[in-house]
Symmetry: C2
Subunit: 331 residues, 2 copies
Amino acid sequence: MPTVSDVAARAGVSTATVSRALNGKPTVDPDLAARVRQAADELGYQPNGPARNLRRQEAAVVALIISDVENPFFTAIARGVEDVAHEVGYSVVLCNSDESAEKERRYVDIAIQERVAGVILSPSGPASTVAKLAARGTAYVAVDRPLPGQDSDVVLVDTRLAAREATAHLIAQGYEQVGCITGPVGVRTADDRLAGYRDALKAARRRSTPKLVRRTEYKSAGAHRAALDLLSQAETPDALLIANSAMAVGVLQALQERGVRAGRDVGLVTFDDAPWAALVDPPLTVVAQPAYELGAVAARLLLARIADPTRPATTTTLAARLTERASSHRH
Amino acid sequence: MPTVSDVAARAGVSTATVSRALNGKPTVDPDLAARVRQAADELGYQPNGPARNLRRQEAAVVALIISDVENPFFTAIARGVEDVAHEVGYSVVLCNSDESAEKERRYVDIAIQERVAGVILSPSGPASTVAKLAARGTAYVAVDRPLPGQDSDVVLVDTRLAAREATAHLIAQGYEQVGCITGPVGVRTADDRLAGYRDALKAARRRSTPKLVRRTEYKSAGAHRAALDLLSQAETPDALLIANSAMAVGVLQALQERGVRAGRDVGLVTFDDAPWAALVDPPLTVVAQPAYELGAVAARLLLARIADPTRPATTTTLAARLTERASSHRH
DNA sequence: ATGAAAGCGCTAACAG
DNA sequence: CTGTTAGCGCTTTCAT
C-alpha cells in the first residue's frame, strides 16, 4: 500500500507538500499540486484513515445508533441523516442497537474509541449510557426519544398530541371501547402514546381502564399476543390505537385468526405510514411521522454542535399527521 | 482523554504492560493485570481506535455495503451479518449505496481508507469498483448479486429457478397471459428473475412477448408506472410475477386505481415474504428468500477469507421457497 | 511556497 | 514476566 512518502518520492517533493496538496491547502504551487495529484493517481494512493485520524484527533464520521434496523421508521431517519451528512463530507456509520441497552452501550464505546466527530442515537438504554459521550466531549443528539436529565439536543415528534388526536378521531367516529397497544414501559415514545390516548379519553369524559391497554415490545409478535389477549376478554375493545407499523402487522394477524373484521368490528389507527398501509383490507388510518425530516434535523443539529460545542442545547418537536383511511370509519 | 501512559503511571507499570494486560495477553501477572484494569476503570480509559488500528494495520471492523437500507430484504441480510460478526468480536458498519455505482465506489474507498478487515457488498456498480479491493488485498464477499469476472466468494439465491417455479405455478393455476415486472437491466437478480420467467413460459410452450414484460428500478414508484402501462395495453396480462416487495406495493396501488381485482382479474406472485404480504387483500403468494441466512453465510465466508486470504473462492447458492396464498389462486 | 522533523497513542520486537 | 524503544502514516509547527 503506497504512503505519502511513496507519493512524495514519485513527485519529487516532501511529504509535507504531498499532504498539503492532497488536502487542497491554498499555500501550494498549482504546478506542484498537479504533479502530486498525478503521482498519487498513478500509485493508486489511498490515505490511511487511522493515521490521519490519529493525527487529527477526529474522524469526519458520525455514528447513528438506532434501535431497530428492520423498522422502516428508523431507516427513514437514517436516510435523512445520511443526506445531510454527505453534503458536508461526513460519512455515516449505522449501528443497530436492537433495543438493547447493552448493545447501545457497546456501540457508544466503539464510537468513542473510534473518535467519531459525533453520535446521533435513539436511546434504548438509560441516560447513563450517553453520559460517557458528554464526559468525553463528543457531540451527540438524541432523536425520537429524549434523554431524561441530559441537556442535549433532541429532535422529537409530538407523539403524545398525535396519539391524542388519533384517539379522539376514533371516539368521534363512534367507537365506544377504544383500546391501546403500545411499546414497553420506559420507552418514552411508548409512554407518550399511552398518555395521549388517556388524554383523549379524559377529554371525552371516558374512563380509561387497564383492561383495554396492553404494553409489549415494539414488534409484531408482541402485538399479536397482546391483541389475542385483548380479544379473549369479556369486555373487548371495538377500536384500537396501535403504536407502530410492525405492531399493526401482529394485530391484523390476530384479528384475522379470530375472524374479527378490521374496520367493521374493530376500528384501527396505527402509527407510521408504512408503504403497504393503504393496501390492506381495510386500508389503515395512520399517524404519519416525519421520519426523514427527523433524521435531517438531527444531523444538522449535530453538525452545528460539532462546529460549536458551547451551543446551548435545543429541543425540536415536529408534528405528526393523521391520515384517515377506512380502518377507522364505522360502517 | 486518558492514554495508556496515564493508566501506566497510575498502575505503576510500563505502557507495554498496560497494553498487554488490557488485551488479555497471557504473559502478564494476574495481580498486575488486575491493578491495570482497575487503574483503567478509574480513569475511564477508552483505547484510541485510530492509534491501535494504525499500529495493527487493521481494524476489527467489516463494512457492509447494501444497495437499499429501506428494503427489508437487505436489512435482514444486515442482521445475519451482524449476528455472525459480533460473535467473533467484529463490528459491522452499514453503508447505503442506494443503488448508485458512485456511492458504492465512495464507500469502497472509505472502507479501504479505514483499513477495515473486510467488505461484504451487494454490488450495484460495475465489477471494476471491487477490483480496488482485490488489488489492495482487502477481503470481500459479494452477496445477492455476483461480480462478473471476479473470482470472489459469492452468496446467492437461486433466483432464476425460483422465478421459474413461481411462473410455472401461475401457469398451472390456469392463467393465460403471465407478465413480469422486474428490476433494471444489468442488475443480476432482475435479469435472472426475467430469465426464470422465460424458462417457465418456454417449458409450457408459451410464447414470451415483450408486451408482457416491464423493467424498472426496484422500487414502488417504478413498478406502479409499469403496471399502469401494462394495464393500458390492448392485450393485458391476467397474472404478474413481481420482482420484489417494494414493487408489489406499486403494483397493488395501480390495480386498485384501475379497479382491477388482484387475485381474481390478475394473479400475483411477488418476491420477498414481507411481513404484510399475508395481510393484503388477497393475501400475496410470495417467493420467500432466505435473507438472514444469506447475510450469515456471507459473514462466515468473509471471516474465513480474512483468516486465510489464499482460500479458493466459493459460490454458495441458497434456495428460495414459494409460499402459496390466495393472490395466485384462480376463483 | 517548501522542507525537516516532531509526535498523535498504540503495540510488538527486543532485552533483560 | 516486565520494561525500553521504535515506528505505524499522517499532519503540522517551525524554520528557511
